[in-house]
């Protein structure tokens, strides 16, 4: 039991931090555009594929550094030459643009790397056991992922709250006009935020690629969970995104590990009414739990846990 709690907590926090690497960028971008960027998870996928391509040519570590920068550059270009033009036509156009972009990226990835998963592997330098607890081993690569995610979190927090650029970004998200009147180039700031947000998603992809599966559907698999995170946390709230990322990460990981069903708790009596659902274990229901949470949050607390705007 203790073993399950420790490992599920570790994995839950890891998954949560990975979600936050995406949710943080998505939240910042939402604050400035006013719409959700449907293509955000696609930048995560691009990160994984760029990382794979570079690692296969010159090694994992160069990819770890270069791939996120490349994805950030792609993001900045998309903002500068795509979204900024579409912005004039309103929110619906922006939303549709990001929606289309997600498909474009998915199709391009399939064209270049095929429909099957690619062989993106954990580098040899991190391919060992970090520790063994109750005869279960925990891979060093996962500890590395956790370290990168936590490091990124500290870095983002420091930039946003401790530097002048961070102050300008914070102010520009809520009062773009006033900030422009003070002589700051707001469109350039927005391009930078979009680029950095995309780069963070790319970084998440680079480190998640070897641990999960690098395949063309990886964006579509993660995207919906990401939206659950930002809505549950509260659209536009960075602390909210952080709490919700960890919450969803832990819920998902624990749910998968729990093999209890309603009949185990209340006896087999309910089976007559609920049928198979009564026998279903929490683990079997795990995939639906985040979406259930999303629906409940929207009904009972539409601003999310820590948000201030109506969704």
């Amino acid at each position: 039991m203790l073993e399950l709690v420790i490992f599920s907590s570790l994995n839950g926090v890891l998954y949560g931090m990975l979600l936050f690497m995406l949710a943080s960028g998505l939240t910042l971008i939402f604050s400035m555009m006013g719409v959700l960027n449907f293509a955000h998870a696609s930048f995560y996928m691009l990160g994984a594929y760029f990382g794979f391509e570079i690692s296969r040519r010159i090694g994992f570590w160069p990819g770890f550094v270069v791939a996120p920068l490349l994805v950030g550059a792609v993001g900045a270009l998309v903002e500068r030459y795509g979204l900024r033009q579409v912005h004039r036509h309103g929110h619906v156009a922006e939303l549709l643009f990001t929606f289309g972009l997600a498909f474009v990226i998915e199709e391009l990835v399939q064209m270049f790397w095929g429909k099957l998963p690619v062989d993106y592997r954990v580098p040899a330098s991190l391919d060992f056991t970090a520790f063994t607890l109750f005869q279960t081993t925990y891979p060093a690569y996962r500890m590395f992922m956790l370290l990168v995610a936590v490091g990124m979190f500290v870095f983002l927090l420091a930039i946003l709250t401790r530097t002048r650029v961070g102050l300008i970004i914070q102010a520009a998200l809520t009062h773009p006009n006033t900030v422009a009147m003070l002589g700051h180039d707001v469109p350039r700031i927005f391009m930078m935020v979009f680029g950095v947000g995309s780069a963070l998603a790319g970084l998440a992809g680079v480190i998640a690629g070897p641990a999960l599966v690098t395949q063309p559907s990886m964006a579509a698999l993660l995207g919906p969970i990401l939206f659950v995170v930002v809505v549950v946390g509260g659209l536009g709230s960075l602390p909210g995104a952080f709490v919700a990322s960890l919450l969803i990460g832990l819920i998902q990981t624990f749910a998968v590990a729990i093999n209890l069903s309603l009949s185990d708790i209340f006896g087999s009596g309910g089976a007559a009414i609920f049928g198979d659902l009564w026998q279903a274990t929490v683990a079997q229901l795990a995939p639906v739990i985040p979406y259930l949470l999303l629906v409940l949050i929207l009904i009972f607390r539409p601003t999310g846990l820590m948000g201030t705007r109506e969704t």
Binding site: A171, T174, N177
Partner: protein
Amino acid sequence: MGEPMLQVRDLHAYYGKSHILQGVTFDVGEGEIVSLLGRNGVGRSTTIKAIMGDVPPSGSIRFKGREIVGLKPHQVARLGLGYVPENRDIFPGLTVRQNLLLGQKSTRHKGRWSVEDLFEVFPRLKERADTPGGVLSGGEQQMLTICRTLMGDPDLIMIDEPTEGLSPMMVELVGKLLAEIAERGVSILLVEQKLTIALRISHRLYVMGHGHIVFEGTPAALNADAAVRKEWLEV
């Protein structure tokens, strides 16, 4: 005498189909305090927004000898034109000090004003340096917005209704700050609805009515012209 610092000629602007500015012409000279007066809705705020590039105008606006129509707001600001919006648009989540630092256009350029200078003029702001701007009183927020713009070291500062809704004591303080600003060689374009401090501190005044200038003159001339005051200013 050369060209005035700010030269506005035949300015027109539209909001949708309504013709808000219908040929506005005026000047602000170097070191001058000029007031732009008029009732609500005559286009005073639109005039400054057009100068800042926030509303697209037609006509000519020259600042320090350069045509600025068509520039973006941050470009206009970087030429040395400061704007203090009327809605006291402070950044509520940031502290007083952070609000002030955001007014700086760059950290390298040392301007006429430092945070310490401004704290000297407004000890209240110094006391509240580390409190979030959102919890300040209306008057304190007004001070903060003016000081924030000063941090960007403008050569001409345009202030939209700084005394609106303030207590008489606060109005006095604003007047004191404007005098201090002028003393440091910064030109002021004061936009007001009421005559409160405008008559006392201005070198020249313009009165606006329905999208154009209806009076231009000194405070003494406006004081003497009861007809203009009755028709365009008094409620």
